[in-house]
Amino acid sequence: MSVAAVSASLNRTETGPRHSAVVRITHWIVVLSALGLLVSGIGILMSHPRLYWGETGYVGADSLTDVPIPFVIGPSVWNRPIHFFFAWILTFAGLAYVSYGFITRHFRNDLVPRKADLHWTSISGVILDHLRTRFTGTNAAGTYNVVQRVTYLAVVFALFPAIFWTGLAMSFGVTSVFPVMAVALGGHQSARTLHFAFVALLLLFVAVHILMIYIAGFVNNVRAMITGYVSPGRKAR
């Protein structure tokens, strides 16, 4: 990083909020709607806790895996409208965040890894530092390290779109217009199985994300995502 870039990023930490208002607001809307989707999604899964591959799957057919919870008939009925309600909120918050990120060049400036960092020594350096709980992330430099950048971009531009795709691929209305959305995945049941698999990956990300925040200073980092600032003395303008 050049001297000018370092001073620019330090300067930004000094004078402006660490996270902009749009990032903060959409972050928490995504958290709440994803929580609503998770709980209602588990409610739907409870009605048929088996996962299959291909187009068809039912009790009596070979399953990929049997989730070790009992069949509970009923919750799918009233959890589905809740699931779709939160899906729409997540869609709007996600679209607002992504268009903001492109318009203000937030993605390009803060999240796309620098070319110099995209090699193994840099990446393994960050991982080794983390294993020794010596963090050189946002706190030290006012900027994200290369592992954070790659992970956040993957969650925003690969994992969330994959969850949306596999969810929509279960809709007969959607597949009547875009059959390839189900066919490319291997079928209706494959889409359903992948939907849960990608959500499991997202939960893994959330677990690591919260663990890192806990180690790096839970209160300061959560405050920064709410007020914009790390220290309590500073108020948002």
Binding site: I44, L45, S47, H48, R50, E55, T56, G57, Y58, V59, G60, A61, I73, G74, S76, V77, W78, R80, P81, I82, H83, F84, F85, F86, A87, W88, G167, L168, M170, S171, F172, G173, V174, T175, S176, V177, P179, A182, V183, H188, Q189, R192
Partner: protein, 253 residues
């Protein structure tokens, strides 16, 4: 005065709020004009239902077709949720091959009708091999044979103000509790006139089995299982639905 409340900010905020409010108002007006508001649009979850229904109706306009499969794709087992009706009336009809059964078609039609199974079978028939998926998560592929609902609605001369078609079945026992209830359903005209929407009396080359809705059930190409009303007894064409059920009327995303 803090610089937050500058005149320019007040004017731009006021203008954008007014534009936003009138935008939502105009969208609601056009949505109801073009039939994009579902019967379960009320309440907080109604927001999601309305967004889903209107976006799907815009996306699927022009009778987009559900995927069809090969005969070799037909599933060995076709599960059902709950058994067929067990009351005296249905048992007698079933025992006699539904010769006394009549399908009543009433409501906003020019010529109300009462059709026997034989009369339905004399109308042009067609078959579709499609995926049947329950909202619970399971799915199977089967071939359904019947008459297009559109042909029957044509026969009874549906009036132009028709917006929905209601399907009234024989009461049957609930899967979980065994309590007998009427599990009817309704669809809009876009689904009613869709080329894959059948009044099905055949399944996988045989007569429709009792547990799958004999003598006649609704078969929709672009919907989940629960919208495909079984054991049909009466069809009513209407311009208004009073949806009181739980879950989603349209079927969700």
């Amino acid at each position: 005065m803090s610089n937050f409340f500058t005149r320019r900010k007040l004017i731009t905020t006021g203008l954008s709020t007014a534009a936003g409010a009138s935008g939502v108002g105009a969208a609601a007006y056009f949505a109801s004009q073009y039939g994009l508001i579902p019967p379960d649009h009320t309440g907080i979850l109604g927001i999601g239902e309305t967004l889903t229904y209107s976006s799907q109706r815009l996306l699927t306009s022009g009778h987009s077709l559900a995927r069809e499969f090969k005969r070799s794709d037909i599933s060995k087992i076709a599960p059902v949720n709950g058994p067929h009706p067990t009351d005296e009336n249905y048992r007698k009809l079933l025992a006699n091959g539904f010769r006394e059964w009549r399908l009543l078609i009433a409501g906003l039609v020019g010529r109300p009708a009462s059709l026997s199974l034989e009369e339905l079978k004399r109308l042009p028939s067609e078959s579709h091999i499609i995926l049947h998926a329950c909202e619970e998560g399971w799915s199977y592929i089967a071939e359904w044979t019947g008459v297009r609902l559109a042909s029957v609605l044509d026969l009874v001369e549906t009036r132009p103000e028709a917006r929905y078609v209601v399907f009234e079945p024989f009461p049957n026992p609930r899967q979980t509790t065994g309590v007998v209830r009427v599990l009817g359903g309704s669809i809009d005209m876009a689904d009613a006139l869709h080329p894959q929407t059948l009044l099905a009396y055949g399944m996988n080359g045989d007569a429709l089995p009792a547990d799958h809705g004999a003598p006649v059930r609704l078969r929709l190409g672009r919907h989940l299982g629960y919208k495909n009303t079984k054991y049909l007894s009466r069809i009513v064409v209407t311009d208004k639905i009073d949806f009181k059920g739980r879950g989603t009327w349209y079927g969700g995303i």
